[in-house]
Symmetry: C2
Subunit: 304 residues, 2 copies
């Protein structure tokens, strides 16, 4: 139906008022984009909205969603556990189908310029769209949160990529950026020893010398009496799921601990699973064009 698809997962700083959340999310469909999911978190007082569509509709949807969020959310009155700096806190753009990371970077710039212009909100480009290396990291940009930003924005090196060097009084600032799809992936270990999960998490995560695109923590699953390595895989093409899984199996064996299973939380791109099948079957010359459903989709497009 749509030849080109980009996904966006805007996070808004409202996770309690159902009516406000619905009015903001409704803008996505009004713009002709596809609303995939609306996931409010009352503790964080934050909602993660997932949408997808062709670039121009995603752009329109995000502009309308931002307009409504600026109208309905006042950060002066916002409290929640999750760090935040804007009414629309962050807008990630993810290439999904017949679109590239470069397309998403381009869209992030267009969108950032437009948000700054229309709403007088300072915009910071992050991840693949970042204009300075340190701005790739969202946590770095967000440090100090909304309240701290009024002072921070005046410091050297904190000029926004677009918009005024002045925090919007109720909507704060926003980060916009292109990034690969993120996979939430956990591996469950047959032990109750939390220390082992923590050690393995440290071994596999990029920040401490492990696999580049893995963020990992060790957790206890109290009810099951076991522990878990809980991860975000931030680039499944470069650090594929199977390599993470195999490395954890090897590390667990070092402690004589079995891997009970693993789990994918939320959504996963089909290609990430196809890479797993390709690896374990040791496939020679396999192409995703050989997948029946892909062939049908291609034929549908060709035949009109």
């Amino acid at each position: 139906m749509f030849r080109k698809l980009i996904e966006s997962v805007p996070n808004i700083s409202e996770g309690r008022d159902r009516e406000k959340i619905e009015r903001i999310a409704a803008e996505v469909r009004a713009a002709g984009a596809i609303l995939l999911d609306v996931d409010p978190d009352p503790d964080h007082n934050r909602t993660v909205i997932s949408l997808v569509g062709p670039p121009e509709r995603v752009e329109e949807a995000l502009l309308r969603l931002t307009a409504k969020a600026v109208e309905l959310i006042d950060l002066q009155e916002h409290k929640g556990e999750h760090p935040r700096m804007g009414a629309v806190d962050v807008i990630p753009l993810v290439p999904i189908k017949n679109t590239t990371m470069a397309d998403c970077v381009e869209l992030s710039r267009r969108l950032g310029a437009e948000i700054a212009e229309r709403f007088k909100i300072p915009v910071y480009l992050y991840e693949e769209s970042a204009t300075k290396p340190e701005r790739r990291d969202l946590a770095y940009i967000r440090k100090g949160e909304f309240e701290g930003f009024f002072e921070k924005i005046k410091q050297p090196g904190w000029e926004p990529d677009f918009g005024p060097r002045e925090v919007h009084p109720t909507a704060g600032v926003v980060a916009v950026g292109a990034r690969p799809p993120l996979i939430a992936y956990n591996v469950n270990l047959g032990t109750s020893d939390l220390e082992i999960a923590k050690r393995i998490a440290k071994a596999v995560r990029g920040s401490s010398g492990g696999l580049r695109y893995v963020k990992a923590l060790g957790f206890a699953l109290e009810e099951r009496g076991i522990v878990q390595v809980s991860m975000n895989l931030t680039n499944y093409e470069k650090t594929p799921i199977f390599r993470v899984f195999e490395l954890i199996k090897r590390e667990a064996a070092r402690y004589g601990v079995p891997v009970l299973g693993s789990e994918i939380v939320g959504l996963v791109p089909q290609r990430a699973l196809n890479m797993v099948a390709d690896f374990y079957l040791q496939l020679e010359n396999f192409s995703e064009d050989q997948i029946l459903e892909n062939r049908i989709a291609q034929a549908l497009e060709e035949q009109g």
Copy 2:
């Protein structure tokens, strides 16, 4: 776009005359079904046509294709290596999306009755549509081929499921039946000893005591100086790819032979690969609804 999809892979007894083949295949698109592939084999003098669409369009496409094949093909003059008994030799029906095996069995009956009525061709139901256990096997039905059928059809037990008890003088007889998707799958072994490939093929194939839905033969790949276990997997849900692969790896180890890789020839259903990923990652509670592309397709349908 289409909510329900059935695939069909009719085999016609013409693999050399390009113009005739094209005229026959053109009927698929004329009926509004999707033509996936046309694969003529001059040695076999036979063409495999792959098409897909909603049940009613597949039915229409197959009736139009049969009409054109009956018009253009004369089996009295047909020669080729592959056994055959009809101008349209066999019509398999495969459930693909939001359709069941029962839907395909029902379609095979409707289609069989219609072909018998319109073209005066005897129709035999096979595989899942078979009305007698021995007729599940296409090779059993086809024994003696076109030439032998004139005598055979008069024998006890050979009444067709639909149509006259008389072979059509130029179009022969046709088999129509529902079956699961078929996967052509090969495993390559790091040895030149053909005997080992043959022994492993015998170990894994259903007919000699191995896995129920595996047909397997051992072959030499002369150019690479290695051997191959070449297979058809006739029901990937009940005999999944990963189990076949693991069993072959184990059998090969018994001879001290490494598995170099495996290959999927032609098309494979996405679900067959997802089952592989699920198995090797030991996934807990995974659902195909978690696949981003599936979620998008669902949202598109819901949103219209």
